[in-house]
Amino acid sequence: MIHIDLTDQPIDVAAALQLVEAEGAGAINTFIGTVRNQSTGRSVVRLEYEAYDSMALHQLRKVAEQALEQWPMLQQVAIIHRKGTLYIGDVAVVVAVSTPHRAESFAACQFIIDTLKQVVTIWKKEFYEDGDVWVAAHP
C-alpha cells in the first residue's frame, strides 16, 4: 500500500507512522527531514518550498512503486512532503516504510528519500538574514 501526500499544512508525524503500521510488519523505518538553522554556513531564517504539484505527486508515487519492486516484502510506504513557508524545526518531509525485516526497512527508506531528492519536482528557496537562494540551482 502506498500513501502519498503533498500538503501546505504541518505534517502530523504520528499519523504518518500509523499509516504504515501492519500486523505482519515488525520493522518500521522513518526518515524525517526538518528545517535546519544552518545551510552551507549561513543562518537560515525560513524556507519556501514550491512544487509542481501534479508531477510531484506522480513522481512520488513512482518512487514508492520502484521501492516496492525492489523490495517486494515492503508492506506499507508513506511519503508526505510539505510545501509553502517553513521555519526552523518544521518538518519538511516524512518517509515511512514497514517490512517484516529490519535491514530492508532501512534500505528501502533510504532509497526513497535519496531518489525523491533527485526526481521529485519540489524546489526549496532558503531565506537568510541577508538574502535568499534557490538551493542547488547553480553549479
Binding site: 527531514g33 509542481y52 521529485v120 519536482t121 519540489i122 534557490w134 540551482a137
Partner: protein, 80 residues
Amino acid sequence: MNLKIALFGIAREIVGQSALEVSAPEGQSARGLLQDLHARYPELARLSSLAVAVNNEYAAEDAPLREHDEIALIPPVSGG
C-alpha cells in the same frame, strides 16, 4: 504550433512569469525548445540543469513535443 510551458522555482523567476507561450515548428524536440529558451533567457543556461517535462514525466532530449502536451521546465529540484 503553440506550446504552453509551465515554469517553476528559479526558472519562473528568471522568466518573470509562471507560464510562457512559445510558437515552435511542428515536431519541435525538447532539446530544440531548450535551445530557443536559452537564447531568449540566457540566465537559464547558467543553471546546474534544466529538464523538460511532458505530461508529468521527464522527456527525452529528442522527444517531439505536441501542442496539447502539458509541458514544464524543471530546474534542479531540491525537495526533501
